[in-house]
């Protein structure tokens, strides 16, 4: 009985491992797929799944022998020889008729239809066309063969998307949007958070409630009025309505409720004694904030900075409403959307572009995951 229970325990443990492995596979395979594809050539992507990338793939190829003018005479026979492959892979089968392209095995000798001689193709791709009479015509004979190609990877896609597809420029544009839009809200929010946490004034509770309410206001509510406002300002002052300054300020506004909320929770949790003793020593609120609160709040500031950076970098809606779609203003997400429209089936372009666009967030994520988790917990688990 005891042994049975133990066996069941071990088996259960084994099941836990197995299911977690399965979950991890399901969650990572999609991303892994575009990573692998981004290193494959256009032709490979379109004929075989990315999961075959590491195996040798067989392709049915229609090749062409050298032209009859290249024929040489050997022992009274006319011979055309050459190699179908460039040292990559090997030939598994070939044929002389299009209806049966795998009729012969590599190394066999096939009679050409109509008695025009024989064709031999070896495993290494070398072929020999032999005929008793001179070859006719001006172009080389068609040869059908199956080539097994070893896995091959290339950086060509990256070169292409970074230069000619404009991903490189968009990368810089995204960076231009994201960095100031991350930095500007922090200071503004930190002061407000300090006031809400440690200063007494009428309306504090109400203000906090308003900020918590604003946390969930859908972005959609802001778009039209702000678009009108920006267009109006653009018209009055004769400046473009779609500017980087405009989007920095917009992201600052949209990010502030979370920033204030996160920072207030953190700052309110700082030990009272430190504040009290500083105040007894005659420090003003300004001094307390700059010398004590700010340095102690670095973990919370980092959490928010990561959130805001990821959110701004990954944002599409604000970018396409408040920035133009010129080369100088199109961010990565916007570019990716355009490519989805214009390059719908070109998976080598799409997968590579997508991977470039998620690279920075992934680096940020894996290097600063601790702060991200901490921020999430501070921002969501309340009261529980």
């Amino acid at each position: 009985m005891a042994r049975m229970r133990r066996r069941k325990g071990v088996w259960g443990k084994y099941m836990v491992h197995l299911s977690v492995v399965l979950i991890v596979v399901v969650w990572t395979v999609p991303t892994f797929g575009i990573l692998v594809s981004s290193f494959r050539g256009k032709d490979e992507i379109s004929v075989s799944g990315w999961w075959t990338a590491l195996t040798t793939s067989e392709h049915n190829v229609i090749g062409r022998a050298k032209s009859p003018s290249d024929a040489v005479e050997q022992d009274g026979k006319y011979v055309i020889s050459g190699n179908l492959l460039n040292g990559k892979g090997y030939v598994t089968a070939f044929g002389v008729r299009i209806i049966n392209p795998t009729e012969f095995k590599a190394g066999d000798t096939a009679e050409l239809p109509g008695g025009g001689g024989t064709l031999t193709i070896n495993r290494d791709g070398s072929y020999r066309l032999v005929s008793d009479t001179p070859f006719e015509g001006s172009t080389g004979r068609r040869i059908y063969y199956t080539a097994a190609l070893p896995p091959s990877f290339t950086l060509a896609n990256y070169e292409k998307v970074l230069t000619s597809e404009g991903i490189g420029q968009s990368f810089l544009n995204s960076l231009t949007v994201a960095v100031p839009a991350t930095v500007i809200p922090i200071l503004i929010a930190a002061y407000a958070a300090y006031a809400l946490a440690w200063m007494r004034f009428p309306g504090r509770a109400l203000l906090l409630a308003v900020i918590v309410g604003l946390l969930v206001v859908p972005l959609q509510m802001s778009l039209i009025p702000l678009l009108k406002l920006y267009n109006g300002i653009g018209d009055i002052f004769g400046v473009p309505a779609k500017t980087y300054l405009g989007i920095w300020l917009a992201h600052t506004g949209f990010g502030l409720p979370l920033a204030i909320y996160l920072l207030r929770n953190y700052i309110a949790g700082l030990p009272t004694e430190i504040m009290e003793s500083a105040r007894v020593d005659g420090a003003t609120d300004f001094e307390i904030f700059v010398r004590i609160v700010l340095p102690l709040s670095v973990p919370a500031l980092a959490s928010f900075a990561i959130f805001q950076f990821l959110w701004v970098w990954n944002d599409l809606l604000v970018a396409i409403v408040f920035l133009g779609n010129t080369e100088q203003q199109l961010v990565l997400t916007g570019r990716l959307r355009e490519l989805l429209g214009s390059r719908g089936g070109d998976w080598e372009i799409l997968t590579t572009s997508a991977f470039v666009s998620i690279l920075v967030p992934l680096i940020v994520f894996f290097s600063l995951q601790r702060y991200l988790v901490r921020g999430l917990l501070a921002g969501s688990v309340k009261g529980g």
Partner: protein
């Protein structure tokens, strides 16, 4: 490159400006009402300063919140009663239009589907994964992997999944993973995202894939917070793993589950990127946020109808907003 430099300048300028504002505001306060001099005067000055100072600290934040969130909310509501250019008052006719519009009804239906499916699956998966990964030595690595999609943009995730759903004619090799698997089991490959009704679920998968990590992280922390003694007591009473999970642990973390659920609900209501990237609302996949964007720019922009759709999204958020504020107040009362 040029604007990258201007970005750097802006950062320096912005930080300096913010710093200067707070420093100067504080200084000016001290100059006008110096906390020195005769005791009575100093005390009175200090009191005045203490009344004003919080508002100096809050000023810039309130300016931004007012301009970018409060004013737009009010203005969107106002605009929803006006015509396409925002000049002519039209009463409720935008709402009447919406109620009778085929696409709007379709969006409402799809949004409801999204609101049921995505939070339910994300939370359930998150809970189960949190429970399982807490049981194995490499759980943190596994968690990292499930959490990772959180860092990926909706549009990037859409490309990733569009590649999985890719469809080639039945006689050519399938390069989309889903169709390859379907073919492996003898099924017929499909252009999944064009199959009405069911395509909604293929889009939802993307958001579930992203949000599960969020649910997992939060619920994992909550599960760890369940007191060891309760679980031990249950074990002694003969409860098995599954029962402990469902009858002891889950009830204890209900409040957290509710928070996760509502947070994901908010995200779902705003879902836009995935739909615009995958189908742009074709094949009966329209949702409110995408429809709103559409009307905002359609034919030069119909601000009235766009604002109306935004207000409908907002109305759906209001109950959660009220609940959040109540929770905050309850929490404040505790302290």
């Amino acid at each position: 490159m040029g604007h990258l430099i201007s970005a750097a300048v802006t950062i320096v300028l912005g930080v300096a400006l913010a710093g200067a504002y707070f420093y100067a505001a504080n200084k000016i306060l001290d100059i006008i009402w110096p906390p020195r001099g005769p005791a009575l005067q100093a005390a009175r000055n200090q009191k005045i300063s203490a009344t004003i100072r919080p508002w100096l600290f809050l000023g810039p934040a309130m300016l931004f919140l007012g301009l970018y969130l409060v004013y737009p909310v009010v203005d969107s509501i106002r605009l929803s009663f006006f015509g396409r250019d925002g000049v002519n008052f039209v009463g409720f006719s935008n709402y009447v239009w919406a109620a009778n519009d085929q696409q709007f009804r379709e969006s409402i239906f799809n949004n409801i589907l999204w609101l049921i499916v995505v939070p339910a699956f994300s939370t359930a998966f998150g809970l189960v994964i949190a429970y399982l990964t807490d049981r194995i030595w490499w759980g943190n690595i596994a968690k990292s992997m499930v959490f990772m999609p959180m860092a990926i943009s909706f549009i990037g995730a859409s490309v990733i999944w569009k590649f999985i759903y890719d469809y080639r004619g039945a006689d050519s090799p399938q390069i989309g993973l889903l169709n390859a698997i379907v073919q492996l089991f003898g099924g017929t490959p499909q252009a999944w995202i064009t199959v009405p009704f069911w395509n909604n679920f293929f889009l939802m998968v993307i958001l579930v894939w992203i949000q599960t990590g969020f649910a997992m992280v939060i619920l994992s922390a909550a599960l760890r917070g369940v007191p060891e003694e309760t679980i031990e007591a249950a074990t002694i009473d003969g409860a098995k793993g599954r029962h402990i999970f469902f009858y002891i642990m889950v009830p204890q973390i209900w409040p957290t589950i509710a928070v996760v659920w509502t947070t994901i609900t908010i995200t779902v209501l705003k879902v836009f990127d995935i739909v615009i990237a995958m189908t742009n609302g074709q094949w009966n996949t329209q949702v409110l946020a995408n429809m709103m964007y559409d009307w905002m720019f359609r034919g030069g922009g119909d601000f009235g109808r766009g604002a109306t759709i935004a207000v409908v999204i907002m109305l759906a958020v209001v109950p959660i907003m009220v609940w959040n504020i109540r929770r905050l107040n309850a929490e404040q009362a505790e302290h």
